[in-house]
């Protein structure tokens, strides 16, 4: 019995061992070994996950789910973490305690994976805490004033959101007598407790996923953190939290009204995120707000969970697309610099890097045939499928708005003459290339994601 459960959890165990291994290497003052261990370990964990595609079961009495969501979470987030590690090497390589960053990233990823596989409210709490604790330290790594301030804001915000979540979840426990998500159907008998619990979960996971109005920490934290950590924060914990939200609403009765709340959050996140992004001059802050808006797009799929067959495929596909294009955009920023001015003339000075950035940004807008298009297309279809056409219309209008946001980077790239020819480091180059390939491949080979048995 135990053997079966452990077999199914091998990838998670591998991630944990990797984190420990990287930490040991750091204690021996061998940062490069730490990087090697972390990269190799996560790739092995990814490889161990592949044979599990198609599994749909639970372990530990239903508290951890091994289903399409949690499996794809590993297949998307583990490679995304590897790419973040490579960016980190470029970013903070050579500083003291560099190896701790690699180890902490692995730990935070472990938290995100726990979130995505959560079948029990306790695992929601555990996953959020694991992912948060590691990332506080990551944000504060530089130990400069902005970094400390960012980490402090992040910490206070996370603590309050976490506390609210635990408090609200106690209502669900009281109403159903169980911490299992699969018992949530019983909450219908006590509507008020159901609503309180839902609000609490939305606060807790909404903060992790940086949904409006729980997003305030995100731009400051991204700006204060090393660039690689910002890239990491914008992808791994966020996708973990959104997958966890999906796991929760799968078991909530639809008539309890949660789709309306999620739809409202989607509108707020998309619209506010892009409006705020329009006025940023710092590319990191711009990408932070853009990632807030992109979280809103995920909600278009989450809103349809349980009612539309398109919901899960669309969420998973968009997660893969989002990870690729967002990490790609951050990697280019790692090469150029953090302000919009740094992008002037980039398209002329470094044509290939310019093309890559244009592709990432257009994919974020959702221009076909790139990954972002297929993802958003399916998300729109899922929303329309559950009669939320208005939500799809709002999302589409926001896509136009987003074009304005991303063109603020693209247009200067092809204007102006002399740009300092920047050198592309080895690791950002690898990340850009990988993300570039993934942005195309996910767009063209979407079938591969859709093929896996869903639900």
């Amino acid at each position: 019995m135990m053997a079966r459960e452990l077999t199914l959890l091998i990838p998670e165990i591998a991630v944990l061992l990797t984190a420990v291994g990287a930490l040991i290497a750091e204690m021996l003052r061998r940062p490069r070994v730490a990087l090697g261990v972390a990269t190799l370990g996560l790739l092995i964990a990814t490889g161990l996950t592949i044979p599990m595609i198609g599994t749909d079961t639970t372990v530990f009495g239903g508290t951890v789910r091994i289903d399409s969501l949690s499996i794809w979470a590993k297949l998307i987030l583990l490679p995304a973490t590897v790419l973040s590690l490579l960016l980190a090497r470029n970013d903070i390589g050579g500083t003291v305690r560099e190896g701790t960053v690699y180890s902490l990233m692995c730990l935070a990823t472990f938290g995100a994976l726990v979130l995505a596989a959560a079948g029990d409210t306790m695992f929601l709490v555990l996953g959020t805490l694991l992912a948060s604790l590691a990332t506080f330290a990551l944000v504060a790594y530089r130990a400069t004033d902005p970094a400390t301030e960012a980490a402090m804001k992040f910490f206070v915000f996370a603590s309050v959101a976490g506390a609210v979540m635990i408090f609200g979840l106690s209502y669900w426990f009281g109403a159903t007598g169980s911490t299992l998500l699969s018992d949530l159907a019983r909450v219908e008998a006590m509507p008020l407790a159901g609503v309180l619990g839902l609000v609490a979960v939305l606060v807790g996971l909404g903060y992790k996923a940086s949904l409006v109005p729980f997003h305030f920490w995100a731009p400051d934290a991204y700006e204060g953190a090393p660039l690689s950590v910002a890239a990491y924060l914008s992808v791994v914990p966020k996708v973990g939290a959104l997958f966890a939200l999906t796991q929760v609403v799968r078991d909530l009765p639809v008539d309890s009204g949660w789709p309306a709340v999620i739809a409202g959050l989607a509108v707020l996140s998309m619209t506010y995120g892009y409006l705020a992004a329009l006025v940023q001059d710092n590319v990191i802050r711009l990408l932070a707000y853009s990632s807030i808006a992109q979280s809103g797009y995920f909600l278009l799929g989450i809103v349809a969970v349980g009612s539309s067959e398109l919901a899960l495929p669309s969420i998973i596909l968009f997660a893969g697309a989002y990870a690729a294009m967002n990490l790609g955009a951050f990697a280019v920023t790692a090469v150029t610099g953090r302000t919009l001015n740094d992008f002037t003339g980039l398209g002329r000075a470094r044509p290939m890097l310019g093309i890559a950035m244009v592709i990432f940004l257009l994919s974020l807008v959702g221009i076909p045939p790139l990954a972002g298009f297929v993802g958003k297309f399916l998300l729109f279809a899922a929303a329309i499928d559950v009669q939320l056409t208005w939500l799809a219309v709002v999302a589409i209008i926001n896509s136009v708005l987003s074009l304005g946001v991303y063109l603020r980077i693209i247009v200067p790239m092809y204007r102006g003459g002399e740009a300092a020819s920047v050198a592309v480091g080895k690791w950002p180059g690898v990340v850009v290339l990988t993300a570039f390939a993934a942005t195309f491949i996910i767009g063209l080979a979407a079938q591969f994601f859709l093929m896996t048995p869903m639900l």
């Binding site: 045939p369 329309i384 136009v400 247009v411 204007r415």
Partner: protein, 489 residues
Amino acid sequence: MLPLVSLTLFLPLAGALLIVCLPQPTARTVHGIGIGTAALTLVGALTMWLEGLNGAGFSQVEELEWMPAIGAAYRVGVDGISLPLVLLSAVMFLVALIYASSLRERPRAYVALVLLLETTAIGTFTALDGILFYVFFEVSLVSMYFMIAGWGHEDRQRAALMFFLYTLLGSLPLLLAILGLYLGSPEPSFDMRAWIADPPLAGAAAMWALIAMLITFAVKIPAVPLHTWLPAAHVQAPTVGSVILAAIMLKFGTYGLVRFALQMTPDAFREAGTVVLVFGVVSAIYGAFAALAQSDLKRLVAYTSINHMGYVIVGVAVAALTLDPSVRAIALDGAVLQMFSHGLVTGALFLLVGMIQERAHSREMGELGGLLKTVPVLGWLFMLAAFASLGLPALAHFPAEFQIFLATLRTVPAAVVVVLGIAIIAGTFLKAIRETFLGETKQQWHGMPDLSGRELLAVVPLLVLTVATGVAPAWVLDVIHRTTVALAL
């Protein structure tokens, strides 16, 4: 059996990739590859033309699974409506690349973009899958944005941005309509043939889908009042950009109007037919008057496009309104032939205007004048193209416009006021010819060189086809008619 359509479709893309991948090619090599690829593509299109159609529906269909889980597939094929447009695209891109072969400013990116545009154009006309169609439709937009922003004239950044925002904002409603058609299908699928054979939406849903599509295509065509991006984009675009924009990309709108709006929501289109007709009439007349008021030669030609596309809208609206299948066939024959003719004639006009601008560095008719004496060949060719554009019999627009007016007269006689447009356009071009080519030659234009071999090679084929289509339209009409005559709405 060769996958002829796919080969023709992806040849230009392969050429573009080749150019991008070559290490440090010379401008000569780049243009050579570009022209060679476009010529091969034309061979492909001609073979498709000779292969012909078997029956009224889609022929030469090629299918490949893509996303079976959601019923999306790679499906391409042609019918009488799309085949002439494929041929037109292949011809236009070849002459455009021939014309552009003197370009020395970043030729690599330029030729690659043009070839990418060619793939998207042929793809838009041959796609038989909703998603695939949208993919090509949008990628064309992105490539055109970079073309205008990279190689346009003075105020290109603003014009490119306006073009991009306008048409992207315009094309998103189409995405909604495609999703609606998909979700309304009994068996979820993006197969456009299924949507045409058995329109999936009815009632209010169909009307909303139609409205969404009309917005998209009205921007692209463009119909008044959504036309304001067109003059700006045309004036700032490089010559080749203008040629492709006018000759090919405007057809995306009218082609979509027939393929999507008319064929997939026929009942709703019939209900809304009168409104569409009014927009068509207004566009045609407004475009003509606006053209008359221009002093910039390129702007003038841009506005005549709005006029000519207005006739196409009228033709399609009449086809929806009429109950008589034979009248419907006449109206659609006219509309499709008008798209074909407009591509040839306006393509030639933009090329010729580009040649004038290259010589005089001005497009203001007031500053030119008497050019016929210094550049007689250019002048006579321009006059031929202008006469074709104003609808002179025996030239390409005449048979098309004649059929549209004939069908209009038999369905909604009042709408024949649109004929007024012809008179105004005639006045416009006569004025343009007088101010540009006739009269005394100004001092500074003496010694202006006449057309070079390269320029002749670019523009003469278009005018030969214009005359051929005008004198014996049957060679195109027979193909178009096979589909339109059997169009059941």
